[in-house]
C-alpha cells in the first residue's frame, strides 16, 4: 500500500535555527508532492508543491523543498526559523495510480523565542 512517512513527529528549535523536515513516500509512479501547514487554530494551507521540472521548489514564507526521486523524498527546509513558524506541517502525495491524495502523519514544530 502507498504511504507517506514523516519521521519527525515533534521538533523543537530556537529562533534562527535551520529546519529540515523529512518526507518519504512509497510509490514508484508519477507523483505530485505537497507540503501543507496548519498554524494553531487555523485552516490547513499550502506551503509549496512540486509537479515537475526543477526539483528544488520555493514556497511561501521562505520555505523550500527538494524532490529527490531516487530517494523517494521531498524534504522541507527553511534556513532560519521564526517563532511564527510554530505549526504542524504535513507532507502529501498525489499519485496517478490511485488518483487520490495521501497525507503523512504530520510534524509539530515548536520554535522558541
Amino acid at each position: 500500500a502507498q504511504s507517506v512517512s514523516q519521521h519527525n513527529h515533534h521538533v523543537i528549535l530556537s529562533e534562527a535555527a535551520s529546519l529540515e523536515l523529512g518526507c518519504n513516500y512509497s510509490y514508484g509512479g508519477t507523483v505530485n508532492l505537497f507540503w501543507y501547514v496548519q498554524y494553531p487554530g487555523q485552516h490547513l494551507q499550502l506551503l509549496l508543491k512540486y509537479f515537475s521540472g526543477d526539483p528544488l521548489v520555493k514556497g511561501i514564507k521562505g520555505f523550500e523543498a527538494e524532490f529527490i526521486k531516487s530517494k523517494f523524498s521531498f524534504n522541507l527546509r527553511k534556513p532560519s526559523v521564526q517563532w511564527s513558524d510554530t505549526a504542524e506541517y504535513f507532507c502529501a502525495v498525489w499519485s496517478s495510480g490511485t488518483y487520490k491524495y495521501i497525507f503523512g502523519t504530520g510534524t509539530r514544530l515548536k520554535v522558541l523565542a
Binding site: Q6, N32, L44, L46, K49, F90, W94, S95, K100, I102
Partner: protein, 113 residues
C-alpha cells in the same frame, strides 16, 4: 478567495445518532474530499468526489457515507455515530485532482458520547 465552509465548528452527539456534516465551497471546484484528522495519524481520507452524484471510497470509509447532489456541496453522514468516530473532520476542495492545491475548511470537531 476560495472559501470552504463547514456547517459546524463543534458538534456533540450521542452514540447511535445519525450525524450530518455539511461542506460548501464557492469556487466551482469539481473535486471535494472528506478527511478525519487525529493526533499522530495525520489526515486520513474518508471519501472523495470528482463530480456531482459521484463518490469514491477513501482509505477509511467504514461507518461513513457521503452525498453530493450539487457541485458546491458535499455532505458526510455518520449513519450511527460511535465513540471511535470522535475526531476533527476536514473538508477540502480542489479544481483538478493532483494538479492543484486542496483548499481546506476550518474543520468540525465532533465528539460522540
Amino acid at each position: 478567495d476560495v472559501k470552504v465552509t463547514q456547517s459546524s465548528r463543534y458538534l456533540v452527539k450521542r452514540t447511535g445518532e445519525k450525524v450530518f456534516l455539511e461542506c460548501v465551497q464557492d469556487m466551482d471546484h469539481e473535486n471535494m474530499f472528506w478527511y478525519r484528522q487525529d493526533p499522530g495519524l495525520g489526515l486520513r481520507l474518508i471519501y472523495f468526489s470528482y463530480d456531482v452524484k459521484m463518490k469514491e471510497k477513501g482509505d477509511i470509509p467504514e461507518g461513513y457515507s457521503v452525498s453530493r447532489e450539487k457541485k458546491e456541496r458535499f455532505s458526510l453522514i455518520l449513519e450511527s455515530a460511535s465513540t471511535n468516530q470522535t475526531s476533527m473532520y476536514l473538508c477540502a476542495s480542489s479544481r483538478e485532482p493532483g494538479l492543484g492545491e486542496q483548499f481546506f475548511g476550518p474543520g468540525t470537531r465532533l465528539t460522540v458520547l
